[in-house]
């Protein structure tokens, strides 16, 4: 299994129980006693899922979740709650929490959810990969090439682009060729497909 379950709970008994539980099901895990302690070790490139206690001293699990979301993290989060607080659960899920589990929880079900979350994160990473390589390719375009590309994506003729940029058609052609080369496509249509949704 790829990825680790990051446990944050102020109850040592729970931490120990979860750690042991995950170990028994071959799921890598690591535990912290507070959101603050966890954040000290946090890096945005970690792979896995979070298992957060909703209510904790200091920063709550929900606040931690919000904070990480703001930081651009999309790691799936499974909340553990000891209270039957529906508005809280609904709010968490609406904000994008992966799941919300009541204590006491069924051990097997929880691990199953965690494994689902890990798998989800793994597949998300795969999608990000293509995304990132695309960004990398866009990144190596020169400013001028980007100007030309924008106009190509508007479906404009080279002639029109040349007029708009006050340069010769031949120059546009050169840029166009370089853009296609750098972006790894061989036609404007492919370029449009590749960048559909972006911009």
């Amino acid at each position: 299994m790829i990825g680790t379950a990051y446990i944050v709970d102020d109850d040592e008994a729970i931490r120990d129980a979860l750690t042991w539980l995950f170990k028994s099901r071959m799921v890598a895990s690591r535990a912290w006693h507070s959101a603050e302690a966890f954040l000290a070790d946090w890096r945005n490139d970690l792979r896995g899922c979070l298992v957060l206690d909703v209510r904790m001293e200091g920063m709550s699990g929900l606040e931690l979740f919000d904070f990480l979301s703001e930081q651009g993290s999309h790691m799936p989060v499974i909340f553990l709650s000891g209270h039957g607080d529906i508005p809280l659960a609904v709010a968490a899920v609406k904000k994008g929490a992966f799941d919300f589990v009541e204590k006491p929880f069924n051990d097997n079900e929880l691990v199953d959810r965690v494994i689902q979350a890990l798998a989800f994160d793994a597949s998300r990473q795969v999608r990000r990969a293509g995304q990132a390589s695309l960004d990398a390719r866009i990144g190596q375009l020169t400013p001028r090439e980007r100007e030309v590309m924008a106009r190509i994506l508007d479906g404009k003729y080279n002639k029109v682009i040349a007029d708009e940029l006050n340069i010769a058609m031949r120059t546009v052609e050169v840029h166009r060729a370089r853009i296609f080369e750098k972006m790894g496509v061989k036609s404007a249509v492919e370029l449009a497909q590749l960048l559909s949704g972006r911009r």
Copy 2:
């Protein structure tokens, strides 16, 4: 306000209270005593939102929600629940419910949520409109034109398309022109932009 709040609850007191409440806030509403009764009047082109009791005799609110989803409905749904059942609430929200409110509910808050749901549905309808006109345009393409269009979107040259379909290049050109005309674009790139995401 555009759209109606469709209430389904087997408790007459609740139905009356909600009807009166909505009326006082100028929100159009209509109420049914069961999911089955509601379905008898259901049409997929209704505008508004649903306010469903989770637990009812016969088909439950959750089942009704699932059924409507299967039927392709995307009308926002606000659940009302008299029980503090977190798994149920979480499951409903994960499936796309707009909200999940516990009874007894705060009148004003509920109406606010309903109004949010109505606004959400209204904006969704606007997006659907463009979508629908696009479908309509695709719909008036002949089968052959669709074959050609698929290949155009692959960035293939007319010559290649002609070979693949065993027809003359000229024929492909004709199809291509008709496709552009029917789809209301003037280049393959625009076509790709228009259809990005679909297919």
